[in-house]
């Protein structure tokens, strides 16, 4: 029973992580909060679903399609709601991306409808019994893909020149500029990567829960925001761990405490951690003033 919950929690947590590390990447590089990240995630889920339903492509192609679409969307958001803003204030990007979130949510409601929709049953799930444990292909696909993508991002950031440039920009954008790094390109790439990962997370979580709605982005976006703060603002490893921890916490609280108070429980823990350790669990990076 406990092991089963562990696997379910790992599945949920790995999609949270996938969403949160993109978020942490954007936050770390730009020192800001991108409220519409959850809405990008939601659109990714919808686009993946549309591709499966109408273009009849297989799941992996649909996921690639959704990632491409959200990647373009991310670049567009950067252009429209970030680049024109004055630098140095953390409130104005917060509000402008809140505006983006409103727009994307209404777009999804008008185009895809307000009712929850899910992936067709043709995605047959095979289950394997391992003693007491039931492991389905769904578990394997979601956990596998999420971890593969996180590993790819890690390799990109640590082993490539461009990844180095990204980390340098996150450390100090001005100094990075002096070193000849084209910070604008780094910022655009950051947005693109983070949004593509959010799109992938959307498709995966949509598959896991089979209920995709236009409002699902808000709740999950808030959770992702909480995760990156939990993991230390802009700390990618922290965000990954934070996502897994939150996924496990939620599943465990449903199993052993109460299902109706699930969200209150996880937000309560987050509040507690922030009050006791204001820089997050893994945080060494203190956010500047404000």
């Amino acid at each position: 029973m406990f092991l089963q919950q562990l696997i379910n929690g790992l599945m949920l947590g790995s999609t949270y992580s996938l969403l949160a590390i993109g978020y942490a990447l954007v936050s770390g590089v730009l020192d800001l909060v991108h409220i519409a990240h959850g809405e990008v995630f939601m659109l990714g889920a919808f686009i993946g679903l549309q591709l499966v339903l109408f273009a009849k492509v297989n799941f992996f192609v649909a996921m690639l399609g959704a990632m491409t679409a959200t990647l373009v969307l991310g670049i567009f958001i950067e252009r429209a709601a970030f680049r024109p803003l004055q630098k140095g204030d953390f409130l104005s990007p917060l509000i402008s991306t809140l505006g983006v979130a409103l727009i994307l949510q209404e777009f999804a409601r008008n185009v895809f409808g307000a009712h929850p929709v899910g992936f067709p049953a043709s995605f047959q799930i095979k289950s394997y019994q391992l003693g007491f444990l039931t492991v389905s292909t769904l578990h394997l696909i979601i956990i596998g893909l999420a971890f593969a993508m996180m590993a790819a991002l890690h390799l990109f950031l640590t082993r490539t020149t461009f990844g180095l440039a990204t980390r340098a920009t996150a450390e100090n954008a001005l100094t990075a500029r002096f070193m000849g790094i084209n910070v604008n390109v780094v910022v655009v790439a950051t947005f693109a990567i983070a949004s593509a990962m959010a799109g992938a997370a959307g498709v995966l979580l949509g598959l896991a829960y089979n209920a995709i709605t236009p409002v699902m982005g808000t709740q999950i976006g808030l959770k992702a925001l909480a995760i990156i703060v939990l993991g230390g603002f802009g700390n990618i490893t922290g965000a990954m761990a934070g996502g897994i921890i939150l996924g496990l916490l939620e599943v465990m609280s449903v199993a052993y405490v109460s299902s109706t108070y699930r969200d209150a429980f996880s937000f309560g823990i987050i509040m507690l951690i922030l009050i006791i350790r204001p820089t997050g669990l893994f945080g060494h990076r203190v956010h500047s003033e404000q």
């Binding site: 909060v33 429209a80 709601a81 024109p84 803003l85 004055q86 204030d89 953390f90 409130l91 104005s92 990007p93 509000i95 402008s96 809140l98 505006g99 983006v100 979130a101 409103l102 727009i103 949510q105 209404e106 777009f107 409601r109 008008n110 808000t218 808030l222 925001l225 909480a226 703060v229 603002f233 109706t260 108070y261 699930r262 969200d263 209150a264 937000f267 309560g268 987050i270 509040m271 922030l274 009050i275 204001p278 820089t279 956010h287 003033e289 404000q290």
Partner: protein, 293 residues
């Protein structure tokens, strides 16, 4: 007499002014609370329970709702004032979610079915009475030692601390004050709409209150007032946009942040406007000579 439509529009304008002003105290010390809807919920639910189940008179129930919100605000505030900026933002969002989920599941206040049975006690006099009181209050605070301390905290916390201002106490005060105002607004809201449910008091409501301040202007308390008025009337005019109203709102927010990030009403707007008015007052002897900067 006013038509029903105009009256309800005026009442919502007033309510939104109150809610917008509830964000302002924390804002004036440079911090943001994105959990005001949580305090609003506490005010709305506790005043409604008092007036329906216990038959407490409206004025008393309203005050008790505000007090309950202030109490919770102070309790949350004691640990919350230790964190700031983005961390305070998350703490307040988390608080809001906890309150929402609590009322969604708490049987005595109706849980998921909501709460009703309130009498329609809120009217224009109550709403605008409170608005006027709040304006007088903020106007006086702004010119007091306390108001200057708030402003100074916003500009440089460390320096103010060295000047001997008790920063933690000041922050706790603004936090509880903002909670109390949101609680009063919640009580008035509940006794006007006559039905409340937990979903009304989620993150979108808190975000809306922030938007009043941000679009209206964050330098003075006139900002949230102007913001609340505009953003309540605008959607009525935008009925023809129909399904795309929020898109228009969103575009407005993005454009504003690019063009005028400190909001519509800045400090200079207020001083220029008051200079303009003062110069034209009939008892002003030589209008040209009175330069007020």
């Amino acid at each position: 007499m006013l038509s029903g439509f105009t009256e309800s529009l005026l009442i919502f304008i007033g309510l939104n002014i109150i809610l917008g002003l509830s964000v302002y105290p924390t804002f004036s010390t440079g911090q943001i609370s994105l959990g005001q809807a949580g305090f609003m919920a506490i005010g709305a639910y506790s005043s409604s329970i008092l007036s329906t189940r216990l038959g407490v008179p409206f004025a008393l129930a309203l005050a008790a709702g505000g007090a309950a919100a202030a109490l919770v605000g102070a309790l949350i505030g004691i640990p919350a004032v230790r964190v700031r900026g983005i961390y305070l933002l998350i703490v307040t969002i988390a608080f809001n979610e906890i309150v929402r989920v609590f009322f969604l599941n708490f049987k005595p206040t109706g849980a998921a079915t909501g709460l009703w049975g309130m009498r329609q006690s809120t009217n224009l006099a109550w709403v605008y009475g409170l608005v006027v009181l709040l304006i007088l209050f903020f106007y006086n605070v702004q010119r007091s030692r306390l108001g200057r301390a708030f402003e100074a905290i916003r500009q440089n916390e460390v320096a103010v601390g060295m000047m001997g201002v008790n920063i933690a106490r000041a922050k706790l005060m603004v936090f509880a004050l903002g909670a109390a105002i949101a609680g009063l607004g919640g009580g008035l809201f509940a006794h006007y709409t006559l039905f409340i449910e937990s979903e009304l008091f989620g993150f979108p409501m808190s975000a809306e209150m922030i938007v009043y301040v941000v679009l209206g202007g964050m330098d003075t308390f006139w900002g949230p007032i102007v913001g609340a008025i505009l953003l309540t009337i605008l959607p009525e005019w935008l009925r023809l946009l129909h399904d795309w109203r929020m898109t228009f709102f969103g575009l407005l927010m993005i454009i504003f942040m690019i063009v005028r990030p400190r909001g519509l009403v800045g400090r200079e707007t207020v001083s220029q406007l008051s200079a303009f008015v003062v110069q034209r007052l009939p008892w002003q002897r030589s209008p040209r000579s009175s330069t007020i900067s």
